[in-house]
Amino acid sequence: MGNESIAGIQAVRTKRNVKQFLASYGFYIIFILVFMIYSLRAPSFLTVTNIMNMLHTTVPLMVIACGIGMVIICGEIDLSVGSVAFLSNSIGTVLMVKAGVPIPLAFIVVVLTGVVLGAINGFFVVVFRVSSLIVTLGMLISFRGVALQITNSQVIGLPEALRAFGNFRIASFYIDIAFGLIIILLLHTLHTKRPYGRFVTATGNDREIAEKLGIPIRKIKFSVFVISGALAAVGGFFSMTQVGAINPLLGNGAEFTGIAAVIIGGISLFGGEGKLFPGVFFGVFLLTVIETGLNQMSVSPYVYPFFRGGIIFIAMYADSLKVRLRK
């Protein structure tokens, strides 16, 4: 082998490293670029109030995306999150408004409903071995149907105390931002620092290998759906309290924006890879930032889905590129 070919190999490696760098960190570069462009174009963009507002808007999706993230890291998918959010909070709202159940108790019911709905997903995936794509797609449709029945497809206003909570703030800091950050950091710890989280990652790497290593993959898979269900319920709760009412569109489309955020944040759709923090945090935030910026630049709202779709496409493409680069 001559020097030329060694030089050739090095050139190829450098090229590859550049590509790998872009695939891994490209999203942060985009994030910074977007931030800079908006700051220059819209004077109101780079202000504490605006950033706090954007974080506030991000909270519900961030919580939901954490659950999706865990499921995807485990090598499965959960499309039902939006409907779980809607159904569990419908039950909670009806209990509060129609039956006069106290708010804390209603909140517990909301979370427990999320747990049960997640367990239903997990049950079908683990016990009947149905593909999670199919199971959760079915649940996406049917849970929403049940919820529409319960709420009669109506907008139901929340008790005053809860409305106040949803937009409660100290100076410009909304209280739910704190809750959202606590949740994402807790899950991040669970994922990276607890044996359980490592089992989730190992299961997502390769089911058979994980089994050989003695990891109880069925329990692990079941549990990630339960976590996802509970977080979807909590995320829906934040969304509801921000609006001050439950409406028939609550959580609508959360599965795709959620998945997009997760993938933008570097969690591979192929499983076993990525982190909730900072990945998912910035992934969700980027989506909000882009839409807020477009809004402040007075772009027509009908254009937003186009941008969102474009970002989702780029994120997915980058993900598959990362996988190809490894080969």
């Binding site: 710890t189 620092k193 607890r194 044996p195 490592r198 089992f199 990652t201 190992a202 790497n205 390769d206 290998i209 994980a210 050989k212 290593l213 003695g214 990891i215 076993g272 890879e273 490894r326």
Partner: protein, 522 residues
């Protein structure tokens, strides 16, 4: 060493009434390396899976260090000090070295994994192996050899006393191999009990001291390795006699395919051969030798780095790009369910799918249903495919019939060359025989076939000529009447010391890359 540390006694295992292991004994002492040998399906893996707790034996007992043991799970076996280093490494590629080593026993401190402890302990164990991998490196980025070290380190971490290595060198590069042998010797000095499974004869003579050979689920020979030579071991593996049918060897007819210096870095090295009209050419080698990769490379499924392929085009040989070889060749693969058949489609559509352009109706635009069915019906009859009707979906057929459907597809297209990768894997004996007859019939009609199979009997039944592949290169060409023993010896990379009847002169050490003499049949 009167009492062996590990003893397996009278082990039997049967699946659905078929015995895979019959009354097998095995014993290994401390500081001993036992070579466990046997052809594919001899029962080596079953025996080791029993020891590893993956399978439970129907009969027999296991004694470790004088105490009787029963294993119901992998963790039972691990607790008894058994470490199983699988051929397919059980590592999670996206996680770090340290995490992989501790995956099923993370130490927890204050509710979270104690990263400092796992880092330090992982490093300590890797150091004892003389290995300088960063414990925080992601496993995906390691070389095959380093990955294996991580797996060995994981076994050592559990204080495993008994180490089972299943084909440990099949994915290692040359220098990694010698480092690996050093580690085995070091482990031996530490009085570990080592069982070493391999197909490669030359390896066992350099590191093992005991040998046990299995054939058809029974022990066909064991003892101290020094008492045997290559030939003895091979005889024990394949049985004494080859009853060979007379086979007509097709005289060198005109060439239909010529492969020249085909290379793919790290996989294939300077593969050159010619395929003649009407010839069944066998690519023979052990699993992982590169035999399937040759087929994949010449049919354009894998990229190639050097070399070229020519096919006979109207009487003259012309170079073609590997991706275009498909125009001349039909590919019958072992994974018929994955990349051969369209399972939800009907038998008729499956048969016609490679050949739709010849089945067009007069408008030259749509496929004519009657033509399609007629073509399919002809093939179904010719190949004796057992179906209720042509609309039956391919997914409902038995393995043998599915394989025949694939054959039928290519027959209706009639390319001059066929590539067959394990054409009878997973089909029953009757169908196997029929497929063999179809293959022979094709050859008689002037089609040329390139066949890969891991069953030596099948190869011997079919082939007019063999190319023996070892470590990605052709080490030997053998004539159709070559003895089983020679095929085994060359494939195991031990041809150097064979001095076989079929070989003219023995080439040097195969591992160093000396090419086998290309010897044409008489």
């Amino acid at each position: 060493m009167s009492e062996s540390y590990l003893k397996m006694k009278g082990i039997s295992k049967h699946f659905f009434g078929t015995y895979v292991l019959k009354n097998v004994d095995l014993k290994v002492g401390e500081g001993e390396v036992l070579a466990l040998m046997g052809a594919n399906g001899a029962g080596k893996s079953t025996l080791m899976n029993i020891l590893g707790g993956v399978l439970e034996p129907n009969e027999g007992s296991i004694t470790i260090g004088g105490a009787s043991r029963t294993f119901r799970s992998v963790s039972d076996s691990e607790k008894a000090g058994i470490g199983f280093i699988h051929q397919e490494l059980a590592l999670c590629p996206t996680m770090t070295v340290a995490e992989n080593m501790f995956i099923n026993r993370f130490p927890v401190k204050g509710g979270v994994i104690d990263r400092r402890v796992i880092r330090e302990q992982a490093k300590t164990v890797l150091d004892t192996l003389g290995c300088k991998i960063d414990v925080l490196e992601i496993v995906r980025n390691l070389s095959a050899g380093d990955k294996q070290l991580v797996e060995i380190a994981r076994a050592l971490l559990t204080n495993a006393k008994i180490l089972i290595f299943d084909e440990p060198t099949s994915s290692l590069a040359l220098e990694e191999k010698s480092r690996f042998f050093d580690i085995i010797r070091a482990l031996q000095k530490e009085q570990k009990v080592i069982i070493y499974i391999t197909h490669f004869l030359d390896e066992i003579f350099s590191i093992c001291d005991q040998v046990q050979v299995l054939r058809n689920g029974e022990t066909s020979g064991d003892g101290i390795l020094k008492d045997y030579n290559h030939h003895d071991i091979v005889s024990m593996m394949v049985g004494d006699l080859d009853i060979r049918k007379e086979k007509k060897i097709s005289k060198a007819a005109d060439k239909v395919l010529k492969v020249d210096q085909l290379s793919r870095t790290g996989v294939l090295d300077s593969i050159s051969f010619e395929l003649h009209r009407g010839e069944i050419l066998g690519l023979w080698g052990l699993m992982g030798s590169g035999r399937t990769e040759v087929l994949r490379a010449i049919s354009g499924l894998d990229p190639i780095d050097a070399g070229h392929i020519s096919v006979n085009f109207n009487g003259s040989m012309q170079k073609v790009h590997p991706k275009r070889v498909k125009k001349w060749a039909g590919m019958v693969t072992e994974n018929r369910r994955e990349d051969g058949l369209f399972l939800p489609l009907s038998v008729a559509s499956n048969i016609s799918s490679a050949n739709l352009m010849t089945l067009l109706s007069k408008n030259r635009f749509t496929v004519q249903k009657q033509k399609e069915e007629q073509a399919a019906r002809n093939q179904v009859e010719a190949l004796n495919i057992k179906i209720s009707n042509l609309d039956q979906t391919a997914g409902t057929l038995s393995g043998g019939n599915q394989q025949k459907v694939i054959l039928a597809r290519w027959l209706s297209k009639a390319p001059p060359i066929f590539f067959m990768d394990e054409p009878t894997r997973g089909v029953d004996v009757g169908a196997k025989n029929e497929i063999h007859n179809i293959i022979k019939n094709l050859s008689g009609r002037g089609f040329s076939l390139l066949v890969v199979s891991s069953e030596i009997e099948e190869m011997m039944e079919l082939c007019h000529r063999y190319l023996v592949i070892h470590s990605g290169r052709i080490v030997k060409e053998l004539p159709g009447e070559a003895a089983k023993k020679d095929l085994m010896i060359w494939a195991s990379g031990a041809g150097s010391e064979a001095g076989s009847e079929a070989g003219s002169e023995a080439p040097g050490n195969v591992n160093l890359g000396t090419e086998g003499e290309a010897e044409r049949e008489k």
